[in-house]
Amino acid sequence: MTSLFPANGALFLANAVNLAAVDYAILLIYVGFVLGIGFALKRYMKTSADFLTSGRSIPAWVTGLAFLSANLGALELVGMTASGAKYGIATCHFYWVGAIPAMIFLGVFMMPFYYGSKARSVPEYLKLRFDERTRCLNSISFAVMTMFASGISMNALAKLLHQLLGWNYDVSLWICSAIVLAYVLKGGLTSAIYTEVLQFFMIVLGFAPVVYLGLQDVGGWDHLKDLLGKVAANPAALELNTNTFRPDAWTSAWKPLLAGPAQNPMGVDVFAMLFGLGFVLSFGYWCTNFLVVQRAMAAKNMSAARRTPLIAAVPKMLFPILVILPGMIAAGLALTAKDGYRLPPKPLAAAEYARALPAVKAAVAMSPDAAFASVSAATGMKMSKEKVAALVKDSATLDEATVKNQLQEAVAENDYDGVILSLVKKYCPPGLLGLALTGLLASFMSGMAGNVTAFNTVWTYDLYQAYLAPNKSDEHYAWMGRAITLVGILLSIVCAYLVSHWSNAMDIIQLVFGFVNAPLFATFLLGMFWKRTTSHGAFFGLLGGIGTSALFHALSTSSGNALGIKGGYLWSLMGKSLADVPTRLTFPSDMAQNFWLASFAFIACFAITLGVSVATARTKTDEELTGLVYSLTPKIVDREDSWFLRPSVLGVILLFGCLILNIIFW
């Protein structure tokens, strides 16, 4: 345990929380249940299909919630709350403009091809529709991505346990990985799916009281709107943004967006939002990412498979209340500084404390400006002048622990990722605290389990069976599925260490996968709905799309960023500087740059696929493509007894619901 416990019990400290016995009990019960579920499922794991694809036997409500949950890793939770604080209600666009339409499209139009074809995975669909090249490209990039995603999840978990409970990073990482290994090895994909559903309920039930209390504390929605109006007028007071915005910037989803990039904190224009995020990125993720599609493909029949994303869309629409609203509440609370609450400062690491403590001691003898400069340089972060001055003045009389606390308090950069935790710590007494924290930990572990189960399927069927060892017995593949699960966990751990040691690693990984994902939907769209798309078209289109992403990134920058990993490095290689980048390629924010990158990558992939397909001959006959392309697949007649269970009807109702939400929060 570190000596960082504040003497006066202040709530703002980013680190350490005290768990009571009841909280540990809840955590242990959760671990017991996930292991128990895994072991209970063991006897149903007879074939490789049972282990890797659940043998297509799961009811729709389970696959629906797992579909949602697989995406709902803790990074999503943490990230959405962070965005809620930083950007306000505009964050809801990720859900209401992005995810919901994409999920509906998947359920109504695309699942028939994934589920109805003989494909056991998304890459296998690509092989059936096109050829091995496209499948290979997709499998390898997906496999690598899942390992990094899993590693990122586990790194975040181990770091959290370390910062929160003082547990050793390595021990936490290995023990949590061992737990995941145990239940996935026993029960396969079904284990992962079942625990994802459990995780879903834990998140909802763990966080709902926190949101309720937060909303009550801040005085209700209308009062929150007023507070956020004041935040928008002066975001710099909370270190949120250096510009000022219209009063409804944090509380109106569309008006600030329509007013232009300078008028909304996200800094995006409406085209980039609708096309880049709403269409390209969202459809690219929800419709083609095997991590989520795998859950739908595990459903027990076609009707259940089609309803899976639609069932998921219902809670998804309402999730902003649970994950985005807390961020907004935090911003409002921080403005009022009620009970001393502030947005959590970026945590200082041991190395930074080691440099800063002597700097504080030495600063006593300096002038206030020099002292401030010296201490700021030592921590490497933006600091608050007044707080540093006060600390330096009193430093001789304070003990080391208090100096450290005050140093942390003096940091003037926000740790947005810490916002949800700060709210949990603020409102949860022992008992509820255990529930909320276990929910958070559950979602981190689910992040690993979900990615590893997607990885082991793609490896076994799309890489191993396809290229390395075809025509072996099913027992062999079942064995391989288990063996690669262990390898997957170990690779995830390696990735976790990689990410924890190199701060840029996360940026680079997410960048590369952004490049790969952006054009993907164009390939699927043309493949599923135009029979004339050829294999050459698909492959070169995909390559062209990825290349366009990379090129666009190398040539564009966003305001506030230097040329380099955030973009524009081609200019510096050419000997130019930031000022030389054309204004067309300078974007108001990271997000804007990202959305435009996606838009261009999609258009490039679409155009190349189209062009090359027209210029090349088809390699597959109409019979071969039956069940894989819209025009060659018999229309599904929905024989549901109740009309409202038909996917198309559900889809329309959901879209309507989404529209209503957009109108309410206009």
Partner: protein
């Protein structure tokens, strides 16, 4: 698959509900602790909610024994 998920989930939340209700009852009147949760005994209240939720999951599952979990 053979295991009806409603049973473990129902059981889990029933158990958690009992624990939280227990915690709530044990710490009833601890105003300092519950000042955090705006003077609601959130453990008792929410524990009761979890308990009900657990039962809502568990009972249909136990009643339609032999069913395949919908």
């Amino acid at each position: 698959m053979g295991l009806d998920l409603r049973k473990p989930i129902g059981f889990f939340f029933l158990l958690l509900g009992v624990i939280l209700v227990g915690q709530g009852l044990l710490t009833q009147g601890d105003t300092e602790m519950y000042a955090k949760s705006l003077h609601h005994n959130i453990n008792l209240i929410w524990g009761a909610v979890l308990l009900v939720f657990g039962l809502l999951m568990l009972l249909p599952a136990m009643l339609c024994k032999g069913g395949d979990g919908k």
